[in-house]
Amino acid sequence: MTETNLHRHSSAFSRLSGVLSDVVSRPSGAIGLFLVIFHIVLALTSPYLVPFDYKEMNASFMLSGPTSTHWLGADHLGRDVLSRTLLGGREALLVTAIATPIAVIWGGFVGILLGLVGGRIDEVLMRIVDAFLSLPWILKMLVLIVTFGTGMFVLIPTLAFFYGIPVIRIARAATHDVVARDFISAARARGHKKMTIIRRELLPNVLDTLMVEGAMRWSWMLLAFSSLSFLGFGVSPPTPDWGLMIADARGFMSFAPVGVIAPVVALSSLIIGINLTADSLAKALGIDRAQKAPV
């Protein structure tokens, strides 16, 4: 954390627009932000854009290549690939867009609190955090999903819970960077309550880290979400979803490759967009992303 990050009296709005223009001024940031905005706009408008009903099956077009009616061909059930690709990111975006802020907020809060309080409770809880992190994400997610089902109301809290745990670590480390500084001791000496110190002194200083962390969590959540639907544990058919579409079309790859390529391009462009944005955001805020391992 550099001194420049410690100014908390400049207006939040001017700061944000400054960071944004910094992100856009980098080519990778501009491309990334464009991709993200494109996908969000697409997800909001796609139900009005699609040429076909995503459920509509047409046996005569089954596994056809691109034709004048079906621009990207049809899948193994004769459904329009273009329509399904356009719609395929909506569920993933909705679930991850809700789960990401929840994960960052709860993980960030617990992390800051532990960083401030320290002591025995911090030590014990960090052991538990480490233990949770030593289990692969896929195992933790799958056990809960298999037990409680795959609906959105299971996926959102599950993703938010498990992806909040690594945030605890990051937020705690960022808090340790500032907690020993004079202005925290001053606030303590003034007799402020812990909550006041967190809100007024600590939060403004770890916010940058949390923002970058949030962007990265978002892309990893998307990765988890689409991997789960690829494995058959996510979105239930016939809802269009990129992961599921890739899984379905994989078996027919040799005669209808477009059915695989379309969702692959869609999913990759979104995830790369988020990562390019996160990368530029980290550079704009002066946080070295690459030094951290993906936990």
Partner: protein, 318 residues
């Protein structure tokens, strides 16, 4: 030094014990038990009772936990709900196969990542750097199943160079997996290389900008001598830990890769066990994976300690 290592070892054991408690509690807290999960709704009367007796579910939870944990520590992982086979026998070959996959990927990925990381770090913002750094972002962010599918499409469907699916049975010797193992190894190595490359690059940049390197340059030490003698040893040191964490993180990705390629490893066994709701097997695999994670981290910490005397004394002073 030994003292320090022992303390680190203790910490690792504590983590494994906590993990085992989390796994056990997690399964306990789920609605139903191993038998109702496995037999599902048809579970009634005799069948359910037999299953519960076989798995000894009538006894209190702490007693079962102790038995399970002590057994696991001695290599006895219990019996599966499905067919009542010894889990240790089921897991053995699978674990070996997964380790083979990971090892091949590491042997290919780590040296490549270090070389590319140093090159991109030294030629920062030049075209070499832009090409490899951008490809690294692509390689590490695209989900494993997507890159795997694309590679299968390219190399097995279109070019027909490599087999796109593993058909070798689980208990075959390692040599039988070639060349089928190549594509899964490439996918895994790609992700791994990307993560480590970025880490090494940023570490090299940091060290090359530091005062002592500038001092060496000003003193007139030749450039390559500065790089190899003074910069790299310090730049690569923090990489050890990141390599460990990356490997551990990839354990999740390995599962997906094994499913895509039909590779008979621990990951695919885990997915099968979860689909079958065979909770004893899920518990055992979770414990094994967590232990591997802790061991990898422990090894990395030990290597860092040995390589860096400053860190050694720093820890001791703490």
């Amino acid at each position: 030094m030994l003292n320090l290592f022992l303390r680190r070892l203790m910490l690792g054991i504590v983590t494994v014990v906590i993990v085992s408690i989390i796994i056990f509690l997690g399964v306990e807290l789920l609605p139903g038990d191993a038998c109702t999960a496995f037999l599902e709704r048809e579970a009634q009367g005799k069948l359910l009772e037999n299953c519960r007796n076989d798995l000894g579910l009538g006894r209190p939870a702490y007693e079962r936990y102790l038995e399970w944990a002590v057994g696991a520590a001695q290599g006895d992982l219990g019996i599966s709900a499905n067919g009542q086979k010894s889990i240790a026998d089921l897991v053995g070959h699978r674990l070996g196969n997964s380790l083979l996959l990971a090892l091949c990927a590491m042997c290919a990925g780590i040296p490549l990542a270090i070389i590319l990381g140093v090159v991109t770090g030294l030629w920062r913002d030049r075209s070499v750097d832009l090409v490899f750094s951008t490809s690294a972002i692509f390689a590490m962010t695209i989900p494993e199943f997507v890159s795997a599918t694309v590679l299968i499409l390219l190399f097995s469907v279109w070019l027909e160079w490599l087999p796109g699916i593993v058909l070798t049975p689980a208990d075959s010797p390692a040599s039988d997996f070639f060349p089928e193992i190549l594509l899964p190894v490439i996918v895994l190595a790609m992700v791994m290389t990307a993560h480590i490359l970025r880490m090494v690059r940023s570490s090299v940049i940091q060290v090359m900008e530091s005062d002592y390197i500038q001092m060496a340059t000003l003193k007139g030490v030749p450039y390559w001598q500065t790089v190899f003698r003074h910069a790299l040893p310090n730049a690569l040191l923090p990489a050890i830990n990141v390599v460990a964490l990356t490997i551990a993180w990839l354990l999740g990705g390995v599962v997906v890769i094994e499913v895509v390629f039909n590779y008979p490893g621990l990951g695919r066994m885990m997915i099968d066990a979860i689909s079958d709701r065979d909770l004893p097997v899920v518990q055992a695999i979770a414990l094994i994976v967590a232990t591997v994670y802790v061991c990898v981290n422990l090894t990395a910490d030990l290597m860092t300690m040995i390589a860096n005397p400053r860190l050694r004394t720093h820890y001791l002073r703490k």
